[in-house]
């Protein structure tokens, strides 16, 4: 047991509290006044094979009916597209002034160092966790 854990335990024990007789009586009176709820979750009754068969058939039949109704409807005349009266929008041209970054070896080295630091930090946290819990 380490120092911090010991101190936390000791300090928790220093918090003095007792259940007063008044609170005890209050709790007892409340408990006497209620009944435990005996309700269990109602179990669902499993449906019979005929039910699933019938519902599948109904679903398939309904699908066919919908397809038939949609296909039998006369196609609505599609209005001809209006003549283009508006001039085509002029898009502003943007001059990008960007240059391709060239990674020099110090930067690459920096990335490697950072990745290595990250790995070390991750390992340290993992070791701490494994050691403590």
């Amino acid at each position: 047991m380490d120092k911090l854990a010991n101190q936390l335990r000791d300090d928790a024990e220093k918090i003095e509290c007792t259940i007063s007789s008044e609170l005890d009586e209050r709790i007892q009176a409340s408990l006497q006044g209620i009944k435990p709820d005996p309700r269990q979750r109602p179990r669902r009754e499993s449906k019979s094979f005929a039910f699933w068969w019938a519902s599948s058939l109904t679903g398939v039949a309904a699908t066919f009916v919908i397809i038939a109704v949609v296909n039998l409807q006369a196609p609505e005349p599609v209005p001809a597209p209006a003549a283009a009266t508006l001039p085509p929008p002029v898009l502003p041209t943007i001059r990008w002034q960007a240059e391709t970054a060239v990674l020099t070896s110090p930067l690459e080295q920096e990335i490697e160092n950072l990745q290595s630091d990250l790995k070390k930090a991750e390992d340290a946290v993992r070791q701490d966790i494994d050691r403590l819990f």
């Binding site: 911090l4 335990r9 918090i15 003095e16 509290c17 007892q28």
Partner: protein, 182 residues
């Protein structure tokens, strides 16, 4: 001695005596925990009463795969959250208030109680995780069940809580040394 399982069965059938016996050993620990999370002693007592009533009322939903104390703490935490939402008071802000119940329940000491410091420095969830671990001696698995968090979340946040309190402890030690050397 009557086993916990048989007491639970009897309480489920409506025996208040069995239920009282069942929770007897957990009541003080629960009150102490609620005291550290409530804005007044009366609130903590109310929360304890609500916790026990809810536990009795919904005992049928208790899953024996959990430890009974774990289940009780889950209910207690829900009650505290409900009280907090009703009061709309930030509990972390109560640390220095005269009405802080924790202050009145801690025996006079030459240093600050670490749990007071923890309440100031840690979030509610991390504080609860630390309390369950170090005051109630719960396993990481049980703590993650109480908080409804993953085991890795629990481990990482326990570690963070430790680091924060460790730093505070070291800071206090350094301050004491500085005072000693003038």
């Amino acid at each position: 001695m009557t086993s916990e399982a048989s007491l639970i069965e009897a309480a489920k059938k409506g025996s208040v005596t069995a239920f009282t016996e069942l929770v007897r050993n957990h009541r003080e620990g629960l009150l102490r925990f609620l005291l550290t999370r409530s804005s007044s002693f009366a609130d903590a007592e109310d929360a304890l009463q609500d916790t026990l009533i809810n536990a009795y009322r919904y005992l049928h939903s208790y899953d024996s795969r959990w430890r009974f104390s774990t289940w009780l703490y889950r209910i207690a935490i829900n009650n505290v959250a409900r009280l907090k939402s009703v009061d709309t008071v930030e509990l972390g802000d109560l640390g220095d208030e005269e009405s802080d119940p924790l202050r009145h329940c801690i025996a006079a000491s030459d240093r600050e109680n670490l749990w007071q410091c923890a309440r100031r420095r840690l979030s509610d969830e991390v504080y609860t995780a630390m309390w369950l671990r170090y005051a109630e001696d719960m396993s990481v698995n049980d703590i993650s069940a109480v908080l409804e968090r993953s085991i890795s979340w629990t481990k990482v946040n326990l570690l963070r809580g430790r680091k924060t309190l460790d730093a505070e402890l070291n800071k206090n030690a350094t301050d004491d040394k500085s005072k000693a050397y003038g």
